[in-house]
């Protein structure tokens, strides 16, 4: 989809232009006519001959010249016909009008029709139910938000028009500048993925910020975002952290996986920076748009107030960015001109009576340290502090360095002028330390993602293996089962090189013969698609020591579950229990989850996510960075577990996830892993079909 002409049109038709106060058609017309847009504008409305002293056309067909973009503001019920009528000549449409899927079935029907028309005629449609867009560099405000933001490098794409309006107003006050602002509305056709691609190619855009309430096509989004993020930072504020999942989830690992956590895992895979909240979103966009390059890890704080230095250092707690260490040479250089009571550790405390010379000399010394990536300049306005002169020195310094410089000038009226100067000079001032450090830390994440990774191409689907699995599934479905038997699951696992504990069926139940292929002690289990949580329902009896006990146990099971098949398994040596699962996410497809099993699943309240396809090294990294990481180190009282073995198990399960999307749920609970050389073994495997 090429959107260059869409967002840089030579001619615009406003269909539904209006001179009437309070009408959206008036607001848009005024915005296009009066803010300096250089292209041709045609106003269309059958009710008027003239609007704002310009000719008004009865309809689009009256306009003989080319129309690059049509903005539709007419009532929803006329929109489909209008677009259909003009789909031959005009290829780009913004539908501002509301009255589509947000109002229910009738509107959904309209959207479907529009989508078909667009597909057939190769149209680009933004909206419906949107605000429009603004390209400040073209002086083009094709929206009903008032005014024109300053020209800058932030592309802001919003699923909420109201939020965009408020942020534009706020941005003016904060001197935040944009390459474009695009409201996506119901996104029947142009969605976040298409706009990501557009913004990625837009040379004026340095950072892409999106506010999203949902994601339209998960797979397309992941691919696009992953590609774009390698070159430009993408910051997304995703609403709906509390959104409850509506699906009924039958498996343990499935129930553990929250929708919002999956979104976070997807963003992480795609290199997207997830803003935690609106303030953080705003701060991060501003910081990135003013920065000259990707941000490194090490930071220095300079301050004229010790307490503020400590509070800012506190903000580095649990962050990835770090305070740089200063070596003795540097400290001695600082000692030359700083008073004896000053601190030459990081934070560098210039003391309360510091004037511009102390700031300037300190910055000069820091500028020569290659290991320092960013500098946080703090000031509290003491009575003798020459606030603006210090600001001038910082601004002067900023022009000579490619290190990131941020300021925290704390106060009100006393620091207002200095802060205004910073805004003009492209220095981000934060009013509180945590905000600065949080934004810097998130931006630093991006420079890590940006690094060229070991390139990996997903393993091709093994169609032969897939076919075998599908046959097992079809057979079970033919028997009206919603889950596979243990036997079947084991068979599939073995196709994927995963060891599963041996078992024996006990059928018919009342004639257990005494020649078992499994030594005592054994476990007796129900193997039914109706009883998935065995321990809850007493469908599991452990540690049966002899034939006598086994008979008794079988009898008990028969009473409780008269028609269900039974199996026995050996009581294998208990290893460290892990759980591994696959959940089908409505947006993103198969998502893998894993974590510590047993009671610790509950204790930790956290599991880890992997979005297939995956490489072995991605899995190894995930495992090492997870709360299981300690398993793979030789530490106090513990021999290390086999990272490679476990990674390969997860890799094989990722193959299954990709090859057989027909599997609705997968649960390996537990997998026993050992640090004594014994092979990892799955004790129970559930496959929901």
């Amino acid at each position: 989809m090429n959107l260059k002409k869409f967002f840089n049109p030579q001619s615009i038709a406003v269909i539904g232009a209006s001179p009437k106060e309070g009408k959206v058609g008036k607001a848009i017309t005024k915005n296009i006519l009066e803010l300096g847009y250089a292209g041709k504008t045609y106003l269309v409305n059958p009710k008027y001959n003239e609007i704002f002293e310009r000719k008004c056309y009865k309809n689009l067909s009256e306009i003989k010249n080319a129309v690059d973009l049509a903005i539709i503001i007419i009532p929803a019920k006329f929109v489909v016909a209008e677009i259909k009528k003009n789909a031959e000549r005009v290829k780009n449409f913004i539908i501002i009008s509301a009255g589509f899927s947000e109002i229910g079935a009738e509107g959904q029907k309209r959207e479907k029709e529009l989508f078909e028309i667009a597909k057939k005629n190769k149209l680009n449609i933004l909206g419906p139910n949107c605000l429009g867009f603004i390209i400040p560099s073209l002086k083009l405000n094709a929206s009903f938000a008032s005014g024109l933001p300053k020209v800058g490098h932030i592309s802001f794409i919003s699923q909420s028009g109201a939020l965009a309006v408020a942020l534009i107003d706020m941005a003016k006050k904060e001197n935040i500048k944009f390459s474009n602002i695009i409201s996506i509305g119901n996104k029947i056709q142009i969605s976040e993925s298409e706009l990501l691609e557009f913004a990625a190619q837009d040379k004026d855009t340095q950072v892409i910020g999106m506010y999203l309430e949902n994601i339209k096509n998960g797979k397309q989004f992941i691919e696009t975002a992953q590609k774009v993020s390698k070159n430009k930072p993408v910051v997304i504020l995703k609403a709906g952290k509390n959104a409850k999942t509506k699906e009924a989830i039958s498996l343990h690992t499935g129930a553990l996986a929250g929708n919002d956590e999956i979104v976070s895992a997807v963003f992480k895979k795609a290199g997207v920076l997830r803003a935690d909240n609106l303030e953080n979103f705003f701060g991060l966009l501003n910081l990135i748009s003013e920065s000259k390059k990707a941000l490194g890890q090490k930071s220095i704080i300079i301050t004229n107030a010790g307490g503020m230095g400590v509070l800012t250092a506190d903000a580095f707690n649990k962050k990835n960015i770090q305070l740089a260490d200063l070596d003795e040479t540097i400290k001695n250089n600082l000692r030359v001109f700083l008073p004896k009571e000053a601190s030459v550790e990081n934070p560098i405390d210039l003391l309360g009576d510091a004037r511009q010379d102390r700031y300037a000399k300190t910055l000069d010394i820091i500028s020569k340290l290659p290991q320092v990536d960013s500098i946080i300049c703090i000031l509290t306005p003491q009575d003798q502090t020459p606030v603006e002169k210090i600001a001038d020195e910082i601004i002067k310094f900023k022009e000579t360095t490619d290190k990131m410089v941020v300021t925290i000038f704390l106060g009100g009226a006393k620091v207002a002028k200095a802060i205004a100067k910073f805004k003009e000079s492209g220095i981000c001032n934060f009013n509180f330390p945590d905000k600065a450090v949080t934004a810097m830390d998130e931006y630093y994440q991006w420079s890590k993602f940006k690094k060229p990774e070991t390139s990996f191409s997903a393993q091709p689907v093994n169609f032969e293996r897939r076919q075998k699995v599908i046959e097992i599934i079809q057979k079970a479905k033919a028997q009206k089962r919603s889950a596979l038997y243990f036997k079947e699951a084991k068979e599939i696992m073995e196709m994927y090189q995963i060891a599963v504990i041996k078992y024996e069926e006990i059928l018919p139940k009342n004639t257990i013969d005494l020649e078992l292929g499994i030594d005592f002690p054994v476990a007796l289990k129900i193997d039914s698609d109706k009883i998935l949580h065995k321990t809850d329902k007493q469908g599991l009896i452990l540690d049966i020591k002899n034939h006598e006990q086994l008979k008794e146990s079988v009898k008990k099971m028969e009473t409780n579950f008269p028609k269900e098949p039974l199996i026995i398994q050996p009581m294998t040596q208990k290893g460290t229990e892990l759980i591994i699962g696959i959940k089908q996410d409505a947006t993103f497809g198969p998502v893998m989850v894993y974590g510590l099993g047993g009671i610790y699943t509950k204790v930790l309240h956290q599991i880890n996510y992997l979005i297939p396809p995956l490489s072995l090294s991605q899995i190894e990294n995930s495992l090492q960075q997870s709360q299981l990481g300690f398993l793979f180190q030789n530490t106090r009282g513990q021999k290390k577990y086999n990272l490679k073995e476990l990674s390969e198990i997860l890799l094989n399960i990722s193959y299954l996830a990709v090859e057989v999307p027909e599997i609705k749920g997968f649960d390996m609970n537990p997998l026993f892993t050992y640090n004594n050389g014994k092979e990892a073994i799955a004790v129970d495997v559930k496959i929901i079909i």
Copy 2:
């Protein structure tokens, strides 16, 4: 300590008054003379006869009238003599001068002398090295910060003068008002505890905010803060989250306990609200000072932008405050006047075209709901939004309700006037949703603490038991040991009703006789104060199955640790492993820690803190709210563990902590607990002396 006269003096002497530009002595003199202070002011400086056309005294003794408060601004080296000379007549001093403990040994000596003089003469001394104080209601600025903040209900006590200056400047801009602002400096005598008591009694103070870098007397602080917090909320911003502990810590639980976490645990015990950062501190003080009563749990959001409603609802994620549910009757009442597309769920979405009537009617309906404690009114400035009229309705509503009303008017110029109105009317406007919800959530914590708890008086020290423990310790010390033998630790544990696993000493090692009182399998351990981490140092051999293996193991141990005593213990049934410890904190004394043991200590990276003395119900609450809470419920695949048994063990250990502060470190690692009726048993106990 009675500080009423100190902070409400009828007469003040400024010792070191000056007319010279840039001098602190000039700034303070001007502040006292020119801002409207109604009491008498005497200027003292031997260099001048007159300052600002007022008489200047050579020294204090020249002043014949009473002096309620003397402010000392002379060089540090003269301060001690000056105060000594006047200690008979003047009882209240502020020492502004720097040059005390912050400059090293010489200054420390001065502070010690001052402390002695103060004690002997019953003086009250604020500082040294401080800014002074400001009481806006008295128009008294006895500091060198300029101006006079507005009269309000916040008592702000700061250990950093620079921070206070910056916040005063910021407060002016934000219309934040104060009952008093006190800079405590090096707090040689008046410390946070004395000021907490003063502010608690000050009728103008509604909320106490403190910025602290350290706490002077931990025990006094806990007692005072606990008492004060029952009546007035105390908010503390404590700097130094990253502060590294300097002590060498030999025990596992001791090493797990971080200084900052201990501060948090102390604050929690004392009911203090800990501000996470400077912004949060500021927001929380402002919110509380404008609120009419303690805040309850349930909140309603009303908004004219759906997206902002969702983002604000997101901010409730993982919080204690909650969104209120609306029942059908209320929803129907809302439906009467709201458009069909509006949402009558919470957040209530009034839609983008909402005018003041929708806000007013909605607020009116909410006002009648007793289950709602707070209302968050959100507005985004759409083109047709009458921003100020809506603000007026909210202000009008606020005057009629005792529910908390906060606003989030998002934008810049378009919402500026409305926000200014809110500030004047005592409504807290937050520029972003997270800040509002975070502050509300923290304030809600306080209403929980405020509730009358089951009163409990600490169990008196059992001196007889203490004596027995002390005897054991003394004996070990006489043998130059720094830790007790297992035998001794077990003896002590039994005095505190805690079961410890049985053992047998193997001495002399080379003559193991075969008649052990313990059945195989056994564990063989080094029992030495030199080898505290047995598993690290191979001082532990588990699962020895027979005499042959035992002999071999003993031989191995003898080679590795030629002179250390050995013991054997039975291999008891492994239960759920817990760790319990006592750490001596330099500020707060004994602190208890507990958590899950074994490898999960590492996985969880978190332990729980208890500050003795404790009641049984406090311990039960702590256990249930900790990550161990799940142990005490009957859940899937698990019978519940014995909460009472474990609580009593912790209670008994708290008795030990209080009774024998001579114990430098205590580590029970592991304690096995069971859910099969078996008694909990300590497998290893270390006591450092």
